[in-house]
């Protein structure tokens, strides 16, 4: 099977709608297909990977920990819009420290999250073959 570049475009926060959860479910399945996978977090999508989510008070499943598993599935290109973070008063330190082990570099632990400008995001998007919006 040929390799294509897939981007998952996440623009909504985690619990108000089901899109974040069901997007994550697709990404986990996608890992088995050995395609080139990128995730983009834009607008309120940045809240999907904010540290310290606690759903005890709303009776819904807290799936934020699942993002930590992405590195084990070699999904390690998580692009976060710098402008979207800034607009929301957030910085990189507010995000979960998501990492992967780089098999090409003696399994060194490296960050999966990359903060990128809109201009960089534009370039990354233009390289994609498939873009799935959630």
């Amino acid at each position: 099977m040929s390799t294509k570049k897939f981007m998952y475009l996440n623009r909504r926060s985690s619990f108000g709608t089901v899109y974040a959860l069901e997007s994550l479910e697709v990404v986990l399945i996608a890992a088995a297909f050995e395609q080139d996978v990128s995730l983009a977090f834009i607008d309120d999508g940045v809240y999907q990977i904010v540290e310290g989510q606690n759903t005890d008070g709303i009776g819904m499943k807290n799936f934020s920990k699942t993002y930590h598993a992405l590195g084990d599935y070699e999904i390690n290109k998580l692009y976060v819009s710098a402008e979207s973070l800034e607009e929301r008063g957030l910085t990189e330190e507010d995000l979960m420290p998501l990492v992967y082990e780089d098999e090409d570099d003696d399994w060194e632990e490296k960050p999966s999250v990359k903060i990128v400008s809109n201009a960089e995001l534009s370039k990354i998007m233009s390289e994609q073959d498939v873009c799935l919006s959630f």
Partner: protein
């Protein structure tokens, strides 16, 4: 060209399914192939054979069925995500019996399958277009 479609919203609540249908119809009329239509999120509700709209309105479910989107072996390529379907009460015969539910509601022009079918549609098709909210 081989084109696939992802639909994220249910019928009547949102225009997504109507737009996707008009798009698919136009693509087929222009000689393109609709490889697969994948129904995800509330989009799974487009597959309910219990849908009964008023007589003066379109029947979104039957419209999709009438497009007759199938693979070479005659299997439906209107594919409903199993995980999204089950949590929304959309079951075919096999899922109903597996889960001890006494009824099934998937229209025969559709089939239930896994999320891998969406990824595969992205790999196999020249284009994948998403219709959502």
């Amino acid at each position: 060209m081989k084109i696939s479609i992802q639909i994220n919203e249910g019928p009547y609540q949102h225009q997504a399914s109507d737009t996707a249908y008009q798009f698919a119809k136009a693509a087929i009329e222009k000689g393109h192939e609709i490889f697969r239509v994948f129904f995800y999120h509330d989009g799974v509700n487009n597959a309910s054979r219990f849908t009964v709209p008023p007589q003066d309105d379109r029947n979104v479910v039957n419209q999709w069925a009438d497009l007759d989107i199938k693979d070479a072996e005659g299997n439906p390529e209107l594919v409903v995500c199993v995980a999204a379907a089950l949590r929304r009460g959309m079951l075919d015969e096999s899922e109903a019996s597996k889960n001890g539910v006494d009824m099934n509601n998937i229209h025969p022009a559709f089939r239930i399958s896994g999320l891998g079918q969406l990824i595969e549609a992205g790999i196999q098709s020249d284009r994948l277009v998403v219709f959502g909210d």
